[in-house]
């Protein structure tokens, strides 16, 4: 697998442009579910993610499909609503008879779908960084666990000499859990916590929080705000004279599309931690970015969750080939025994706990809206669903 995908991608790119992916034979097909929010507040992030998942399906089909069958994606709209996600997941499995589902973004959507996949013994591929603290045999977690995004950011900041940390987030499960873990490590490493604040999702006023930041004078802000609140926060920080060059901000929810939308001039110089940046070197990533731009326009950008969604489809296909079966149980067994594969993210594999082994990167936003990679973990990081400092004694053993 390693090394040959680059050439394949280039060939596929040409092939996808020549012919649409309609299969010539009706019974030589297999259905998979693609379940993202195509409407509602999350559509902004999930539509491009779905595009990346469909791109992977197109490329696999153009190369002949899997086990001689063309993949037919059945698209459903989760509508940014957890109960809709659960309902559509049931529909995909029961009525459409899909063999697996790619989808979800928010932790609440994943938590709502989990019982559905357990009940029907199906398999969900979840592509977004999350708070860990969950371990299900019916989900493949390719997005970062806290020890692959939040903790590498802390390691980098400590190496840089920052001592005092201010934690700011939107008020829901991911920031609360990520900060719980960060606080344990900040205390354990002998650093100080300057402050911790949460605003409701969609919150627009940061005047009081900025006053508290000015008073507590942290070395760095660790920002787990989600969505539009980031724009308000950075604009109001700039208005208060606290631009990223004066007070560094490390964000966990700002990737290339968000930076593009918020305006790189506002955010330039701020930091972010991911397992993928569009600017990553290497031919596999170059081919992926080229294929995406060829399909969705030269101005489109790609980000970490999109690449995870794309790679989930690719690894699913590899696992099906290895298992010689579409059966979800056999596929998940094969997926964790594939070993490292070459991907746009670099070398990745699924560990025995069904989370992805992957490298952590720190990027600094440049005025052109792309991130300059300024730090990376010494090697791929083993995923830890349960942080040993925060949840001692809990472990995730699935295989």
């Amino acid at each position: 697998m390693i090394g040959n995908r680059t050439g394949l991608l280039a060939a596929l790119l040409a092939a996808t442009m020549l012919s649409s992916a309609t299969p010539a034979f009706a019974d030589g097909t297999v259905k998979v579910g693609v379940l993202q929010s195509l409407s509602g507040t999350m559509a902004i992030s999930e539509v491009p993610l779905e595009d990346a998942e469909l791109l992977a399906i197109d490329q696999i089909n153009a190369a002949g499909g899997v086990l001689g069958k063309q993949i037919v994606p059945v698209e459903e709209d989760g509508a940014s609503d957890p109960s809709t996600f659960a309902q559509k997941a049931t529909k995909l499995i029961e009525e459409d008879k899909v063999v697996t589902v790619f989808g979800g973004w928010t932790s609440s959507s994943r938590k709502a779908m989990l019982p559905v996949f357990q009940r029907f013994h199906n398999l969900l591929w979840y592509p977004v960084q999350f708070e860990g603290n969950e371990c299900s045999p019916n989900i493949m977690y390719s997005g970062a666990q806290p020890n692959q995004q939040a903790l590498p950011a802390l390691t980098w900041a400590e190496e840089k000499g920052y001592k005092s940390y201010f934690l700011l987030g939107s008020d829901y499960v991911y920031p609360r859990t990520a900060n719980l873990i960060l606080k344990k490590h900040i205390a354990h490493d002998g650093m100080t916590l300057a402050g911790e604040e949460y605003v409701p999702l969609g919150g627009t006023d940061f005047s009081s929080i900025i006053a508290e930041i000015q008073q507590s004078k942290p070395d760095i802000i660790i920002n787990t705000l989600n969505g539009d609140s980031n724009v308000s926060f950075f604009k109001q920080m700039a208005a208060a004279g606290l631009t990223p060059d004066k007070l560094p901000v490390m964000s966990f929810s700002i990737a290339e599309p968000e930076a593009k939308a918020m305006g790189p001039s506002l955010l330039a110089g701020s930091y972010t931690s991911w397992n993928y940046f569009q600017s990553l070197p290497g031919p596999t990533n170059a081919a992926f970015v080229a294929a995406y731009k060829a399909k969705f326009g030269a101005n489109s950008v790609v980000d970490d969750p999109m690449v995870h969604g794309y790679e989930d489809v690719m690894i699913w296909a590899d696992a099906v080939k290895k298992a010689k079966s579409f059966n979800p149980t056999k596929v998940r067994d094969a997926a964790v025994s594939l070993g490292f594969v070459d991907s746009p993210l670099g070398e990745v594999k699924f560990a025995d706990n069904q989370s992805m082994v992957q490298t952590g990167y720190i990027g600094q936003l440049q005025p052109d809206g792309q991130f300059k990679i300024i730090w990376q973990s010494p090697g791929p990081i083993e995923p830890q669903p349960y942080d040993p400092l925060t949840f001692p004694g809990k472990s995730c053993k699935l295989h």
Binding site: T41, A43, I44, V47, D171, E197, Y198, V199, P200, G202, G203, T204, D205, S207, S208, I209, A211, Q214, Q215, D228, V231, S232, K235, Q236, A238, A239, A240, G241, P257, E258, K260, A261, M262, G263, S265, L266
Partner: protein, 302 residues
């Protein structure tokens, strides 16, 4: 930073938040007060103002773009508001629930239109460089106090808008008609006031103010298709707390909410402050259901 400087800073922040609420809620208060129309598309007028600011800044970049954008957004949103009133709202005038549903539909249409025209992820509007400074106190009792120019600018704009509308309502002939229709629609009509035209003018004025507010909000917040939804709930809160349709009430309610949140956030985090604010409003409405200011009007009896 000195404790007193921090406290004064929070009082300033309270006024700053209040000025945003005044701008966001004023248009709603106007149309709600006069016509009993619950305009669910009011937030989308704020959104429209933000996008008009974005377009204006494309044509007039540079330091004064934002000053050009304000009248453009006022006229643009006012025009759309006028069309909305003429095409939808006055045709449903005696049916408040239908108006609620219809304007909600309009808000969805406008959100989707923005999404189709400009994309789902919003556009960039940044404050001009001349606003990116702070007024700082370097010595004395309030040493360490930093007041952002942007927030001072918004306070001034809010004061001007409020003053302008107060003058319009209290000192002009149009204002006299508005007050007359507000007090007793039937009698005003019998006296020869064209109530239909007054409705149209007030609704367009209200949405125009919302458009202008959208430009101001874009200095401190995002410009996305759904941005209006962030402000619509606080705006309704202000209108209800202030007393239906009263400018003074709207102003006092904005200040109450702004100062309440800014001062309570010294002690609790933002989420808890939101809860306490809503509890405060619920209690206030229990004790004083008519809001801060009671407007004498027959419209409430009909």
């Amino acid at each position: 930073m000195h404790e007193s400087a921090f406290l004064l800073g929070q009082v300033f922040n309270g006024f700053s938040v209040a000025s945003l609420f005044i701008l966001a809620a004023l248009g709603l208060a106007l149309s709600f007060g006069l016509m009993r129309v619950i305009n669910m598309a009011h937030g989308e007028m704020l959104m429209l103002g933000g996008y008009l600011a974005y377009m204006t800044l494309q044509i007039v970049p540079g330091p004064l773009g934002i000053l050009v954008a304000m009248p453009v957004a006022f006229l643009g949103a006012g025009l759309l508001g006028g069309i909305l009133e003429w095409a939808v709202i006055h045709r449903l005038s005696a049916r408040p629930l239908d108006t609620l549903l219809a304007t909600w539909g309009v808000s969805l249409v406008l959100q989707q239109a923005a999404r189709n025209l400009f994309g789902a992820i919003g556009v960039e509007v940044t404050a001009p460089r001349w606003l990116n400074h702070t007024v700082s106190v370097h010595s004395g009792y309030f040493k360490g106090l930093d007041l952002p120019d942007t927030r001072i600018f918004i306070l001034i704009v809010a004061a001007f808008v409020l003053g302008g509308i107060a003058l319009l309502i209290n000192k002009t002939r149009l204002g006299l008609y508005v007050r007359a229709v507000n007090q007793d629609r039937a009698t005003a009509a019998a006296m020869g006031v064209n109530a239909r035209l007054i409705d149209l003018a007030v609704f367009a004025l209200g949405t125009g103010v919302a458009g202008l507010a959208g430009v101001i909000l874009a200095l401190l917040g995002p410009v996305t298709p759904t941005v209006g939804q962030n402000y619509i709930v606080p705006a309704f809160l202000v209108v209800i707390l202030g007393g239906l349709g009263s400018l003074v009430g709207t102003t006092i309610a904005s200040l109450m909410i702004g100062l309440f949140t800014a001062l309570i956030e010294i002690f609790v985090d933002v989420s808890v402050a939101q809860v306490l604010l809503l509890v405060f409003v619920i209690l206030f409405i229990q004790i004083r259901p008519q809001g801060v200011i009671t407007v004498r009007t027959r419209a409430l009896e009909g």
